[in-house]
């Protein structure tokens, strides 16, 4: 019985933390939880595709941007990491469809090359540091405000801060066919956001890996899978219908799925045509493609918030040439932040609960005293 009670308490604790944890993170790569509180660290997109003798790398941050300069970009460091040596295979159709390939030794993911960018508050390039690549003098760079290229109604008619790079193919080792890359945003040495393959860390169940290096992500995912599976199994295994309802709420949103146990990196290989999830092209409708293989949250939201038929192209045409991203939308004031706070409601509920609890305990106390006095009085009367 005691064991059951302990289990129930730990289950409720886990449940509460499970539901509360992603609130900050629910929204991502466009809406990582971590970064809704720090929009300048919020990575929105990572693109990688070949163009002639170049690879085009696009790394965007700052979701839903409409405000004018200056921004607060100077404290942030944006980095793209390339793993060029960890083995990747392409035999699994399932892995290719979801992730672009199979990483056979996921705990060995590491950066062989990095490109680190710092921006001035007016979006101009403050510094770019390239490690592990050759012919870096031939790297072409653009930074500035551009249209958000994400094909998703919520982010139509808004901008992002874009970092576009053209990397000569000879910057990479001769015969380099396979690439794994991921981006990070950091401030004061602390990583705040991560992006790999599109639409992973923006999903509620993946908020946990936003601050974890890819080589450690599998371990983190497994740890979370274990606790969330136990929670799901506990609620699903009870006979009460409402317990099963809780389990069914946990499953689609928070449970780590059988196909989730993969580090979040973008895989690109020149063995196959470029296009999500083999790298990512600007024109890729990643929301629909991701939905086709099991993750439909954004697909549903695109119907909820968008019109009919669902938009499958960007709201502005991409450029055929440098810097490829569409022209930015005119600046306009960003929507005012809500002024109402939920804290008074929480405090009120807590106080009401405390008051009711106190009243019940006080009533019980008085009842016990009264019964005790009555019991003592009886023998005396006899």
């Amino acid at each position: 019985m005691k064991r059951r009670a302990r289990w129930a308490i730990s289950a409720v604790t886990m449940l509460v933390s499970l539901f509360l944890a992603p609130i900050g993170a629910f929204a991502s790569d466009h809406a990582d939880p971590t970064d809704l509180t720090d929009p300048n660290a919020n990575i929105t997109d990572l693109f990688f595709f070949p163009k002639g003798d170049q690879y085009i790398l696009i790394f965007n941050v700052r979701r839903a941007l409409t405000a004018s300069q200056p921004y607060d970009l100077a404290p942030y460091e944006y980095r793209v990491n390339f793993d060029l040596t960890t083995p990747t295979t392409f035999d699994s159709a399932e892995d290719r469809a979801r992730y672009g390939g199979t990483i056979t030794t996921p705990d060995r993911l590491h950066p062989d090359a990095t490109i680190t960018v710092r921006l001035n508050n007016n979006t101009t390039l403050k510094s770019i540091t390239v490690n592990g690549l050759k012919n870096t003098e031939k790297i072409r760079t653009y930074t500035g405000v551009r249209d958000d290229p994400f094909i998703f109604p919520r982010f139509f008619k808004v901008n992002v801060i874009a970092m576009v790079m053209s990397l000569p193919k000879d910057a990479f080792p001769v015969g380099q066919h396979d690439f794994m890359l991921w981006g990070t945003a950091s401030k004061d040495g602390a990583q705040l956001d991560h992006v790999g393959r599109s639409i992973r860390t923006q999903l509620p169940r993946f908020g946990i890996i936003n601050t974890t290096p890819p080589g450690d992500q599998l371990k983190t995912l497994m740890e979370n899978k274990e606790s969330r599976d136990k929670l799901y199994n506990f609620f699903k295994g009870n006979r009460e219908w409402y317990s099963k309802v809780v389990a069914d709420l946990i499953q689609p949103t928070f449970q780590i799925r059988k196909y989730d146990l993969v580090p979040d990196v973008m895989i690109y290989t020149d063995r196959f045509p470029a296009g999500y999830p083999n790298g990512r092209l600007l024109t890729d409708d990643v929301v629909a493609q991701t939905c086709a293989f099991g993750d439909c949250l954004l697909q549903e939201i695109s119907y909820i918030e968008g019109g009919w038929p669902r938009a499958t192209t960007n709201d502005r045409p991409f450029l055929d040439d440098w810097p490829y991203l569409a022209e930015p939308w005119p600046e306009r004031p960003e929507p005012a932040a809500p002024t109402r706070s939920i804290l008074p409601y929480i405090i009120g509920i807590v106080l009401a609960f405390a008051l009711v609890s106190w009243a019940i305990i006080e009533l019980l106390r008085r009842l016990i005293i009264w019964l005790w006095l009555k019991a003592r009085a009886k023998p005396q009367a006899a």
Binding site: K219, Y232, N233
Partner: protein, 267 residues
């Protein structure tokens, strides 16, 4: 080893035997270090199985032992594969699964057929001696499955029992080299004699190798070729007086990939 037979023949008709084998089928027997392995449970005949989704209520233990450490195999109920585990790949790992008991009733004829198929002649004899041959077969069965995941180095842990009520324990790490499979059959940790042990080759259901354990519980199976093998045995005992069933059966299985023979050195 009292008898040994190698037959390339179709196994006995499964329709007669209501019982089914149970085994662990990992996504790979040769994972790279650090890889994630999904662990499927299978039930079927002739090493051809249907997936068994995880159901916590039926699991008594589900764990993996690697590098001397044991950890639970995690998974979500109602989902196949039943579990997942990251393997470090340093040494051979042992996955083990034990079920809680499940009750089944079989008509007398079917029950006896199944006892015959699984070499449980002593149970047939016991039923006959007690005049129970026309009695329903009321049984509670327990499943004990193991699988070996090949690592970079052999593991001495493979040769030690993992504590299942009924288990097949190799004498040495069978994932290392192509050789006859030698091991022991243990019931509650003690050698069990005269147990029928069958080996089946994945993808070739006609290949059926049988032996019986000797008085020390030892078995030798001269596996004729490399590949993924299922080695299995069933033991049955009369249930306790107060039990609702008449018989308790214990189903042990071991799945392992036997490597290719090493090429002979030419003089």
């Amino acid at each position: 080893m009292r008898s040994l037979a190698f037959a390339a023949a179709v196994l006995l008709a499964t329709a007669r035997a209501q019982a089914h084998d149970f085994w662990i089928e990992p996504s790979t027997f040769h994972p790279a270090p650090g890889a994630m392995v999904s662990v499927g449970l299978r039930v079927g005949q002739n090493f051809i199985g249907d997936p068994v989704p995880r159901l916590s209520a039926f699991i008594a233990a589900f764990s993996v032992r690697q590098n001397g450490k044991a950890r639970d195999v995690v998974g979500s109920d109602h989902i196949d594969p039943a579990g997942f585990l990251p393997v470090d790949g340093n040494a051979t790992a042992t996955i083990s699964y034990a079920s809680t008991g499940a009750y089944i009733e079989l008509p007398p004829g079917e029950f006896e057929d199944y006892l015959r198929v699984y070499g449980l002649d002593d149970v047939i004899a016991s039923r006959a001696a007690r005049g129970e041959r026309n009695k329903l077969g009321r049984e509670r069965f327990y499943r004990y499955a193991k699988a070996l995941i090949t690592g970079r180095d052999p593991s001495a842990g493979v040769t030690k029992p993992v504590g299942l009520a009924y288990e097949i324990v190799p004498n040495d790490d069978p994932t290392r080299r192509f050789a006859p499979f030698r091991g022991h059959v243990l019931y509650h940790g003690k050698p069990l004699s005269n147990a029928l042990v069958v080996a089946l080759l994945h993808g070739r259901p006609s290949v059926n190798l049988e032996t019986h354990s000797d008085p020390q519980g030892a078995i030798t199976l001269p596996l004729p070729c490399p590949g993924i093998w299922l080695i299995k045995s069933v033991h049955m005992v009369r249930a306790s007086f107060f039990a609702s069933e008449d018989w308790d059966s214990f189903w042990a299985s071991l799945t392992v990939e036997i490597p290719e023979p090493e090429p002979e050195l030419k003089p």
